[in-house]
Subunit: 407 residues, 2 copies
Amino acid sequence: MKKFKEVAGNNTSDLSEMNRSAIVRILQQKEICSRAEVAKMMGLTQASITKLVGALIDMGIVSEVGIVKGNGNRRSIGLRLNAEKNLVIGVKFSRHVFAIGVFDISGKLYTQQETEYSLNDFAEDVIASMKEQIHKLLKKYKNVVAIGLAVPGPYLRGEGRIAMVTRMPNWRTVNFIDEFKHEFDKPVFIEQDANAGALAEWWFGNHDRPLNSLAYFLIGEGVGSGIVDHDRLLLGNLGIASEVGHISIDYKGPVCECGNRGCLELYCSTMALLKKAEKDLPELFEKPYENRAEACARIFDAARAGNKKAIKLVNEIAEYLGFGCVTLINAYDPEIIVIGDSIAQGDELLLPTIKKIVEERTLKAISSNVRIEISKLKIDPTLYGAAAIATDRVLRKPSEYLTLNKD
Amino acid sequence: MKKFKEVAGNNTSDLSEMNRSAIVRILQQKEICSRAEVAKMMGLTQASITKLVGALIDMGIVSEVGIVKGNGNRRSIGLRLNAEKNLVIGVKFSRHVFAIGVFDISGKLYTQQETEYSLNDFAEDVIASMKEQIHKLLKKYKNVVAIGLAVPGPYLRGEGRIAMVTRMPNWRTVNFIDEFKHEFDKPVFIEQDANAGALAEWWFGNHDRPLNSLAYFLIGEGVGSGIVDHDRLLLGNLGIASEVGHISIDYKGPVCECGNRGCLELYCSTMALLKKAEKDLPELFEKPYENRAEACARIFDAARAGNKKAIKLVNEIAEYLGFGCVTLINAYDPEIIVIGDSIAQGDELLLPTIKKIVEERTLKAISSNVRIEISKLKIDPTLYGAAAIATDRVLRKPSEYLTLNKD
């Protein structure tokens, strides 16, 4: 038997940190709360909360703000998270573009910038440019406490590299952990794009809470998913759990670059949609398109204008999205599935077909308990997700990370 | 926004209980350990461990046993879990049979009994007989601290009922929580069969530890899976996450009773295997078989004896099991997949084909990091799993449950 490391012990300072983290996470969601409300939500005495909040105020993480009305019209002092003093930098790295944004831990955007590159560019040059931009932002924004990086999956988070880079040969040997570990005097956290999107919905999405389980269904150039189950990202052994894009929907189907056959990604990525559209609806693409998201928008616009071929195409894709949702339900039993990335532009054109498929292909006791929605986030979910990666980590250890800028 | 309940606070008595639980779980796996070893594994000071262990000894949960040799030949007092003072009753409920066993929390079997029934029997009568047997065992075995019940999935654990009982119409209205909640003066915990099997492997399987993530792949009359990810059962919103048997491998395939098409269960359950075998190998079934497990054994025996038709059938099933493993890998990224229930009899006949399919259909960086094994448990994994359900719960709250029999 190997050394047994699964069960870590906790001491009283771990306990205080867990409880401070719980308070900070409640305030991140509720904006303003009284001590009494926090005590009730956490099931602790008001005396304990008063002590914990006192420490958070001393650390500069929480402030008192005015008076809020509580039960029975009692007036209490409000508490809020000093979000603006705790910024995070989110970095989205994808196949043709990288984007960098500065956010605070409440999800407020301060600035964002995007850089296109070619897959023929040397990876080192692209990374050098990314680092330079981050350094500049760190100079300008002094209150950054952490950096989150979202990379395409399957990303082996222990090793620091992307497992499948056949479409990005120049990136084969890049180790993201080595590249970023010592580059900045801020911690850098890295996860794959769909997990980032799931965290963006978890922290910055305006969903009914509490939420037992959320599935983010990313449909862009690739197809992926991220699962937050009972307040924790589902990671698996290597950090690549929930690769729904590579779950087969037809074991005799076409071969995917992952080796599997009939991967969902082959049927409903924006690449699959555009391939069909360029054949069936060439008139839409006489004018060259800027990027795939814009090209998809033309298809949805044509469907909205009543173009029958476009409507047929959109319905086909929606069916595959429905099969994907059925797989997500059987695999993870989520309370909510949020569909995001480029395909989200299809919105009301897609949802009825998706819901119909789910109703047909799952038991009523199950389908009636899952909400299926299109993401309502106003910011690119992977970039926002990169910020959410950092936010998630710093909110779980507030005294370690949220005091970085305090003297 | 609904009331925020995701983030519970912990007080110092919660902290002590977490740490006592960690110690008890280590001892459940390691059998005998010194205080110094436990301290090292948990990352706590020896003084803290001494205090925690003192409390566990006072509660009668842990005992000192002789002298163990530690690092540098230092001799220390050994600690062991008083497993024999903490028994659990496991109850496996399945379509034609229920089984009841008495175990201790180390997984040692004391007694087991099996009762067959017909699907035409009234559910009330079957349940009454089950309760009567449990009451008798409780009279005989005084040290029982909890009862675990494993039921067929999809089991809605919040509601207490099985969502799909088309093959068991008499069971449609049975609510397991209502039936068992107040029946005994011991707590009763209920989960679905594949989750039970996953917990059996987690607590009683002899696997290399630490283990980040384990998938139990149940192939019996039905097909299911249970996932333990980072020490926690994956539950989802309703408790029915990881229904791999109803993940489709062919979206145009035959219709399943769940509503989906091409569900994995339709291709590789023992029912699917037997249906084919009765057609292709009628000579094996001239003598009627006792149960499906025995019928499967005949097919595997024939294959081992060189019967070509049997070999072909077994290889076909193994391919589907391979597709199932590929789905499990893409969905959960497990460190180990353990295949159990009736199909496990196929053992060495199945594994090479399963592994070949996994190597072909996943990236090498992934397939080389997952172990695929046939369950080596000597006890029916669902019955053993029922005991593991109870064991899992009592080990997480030792002072609440493991002191039930102490005066």
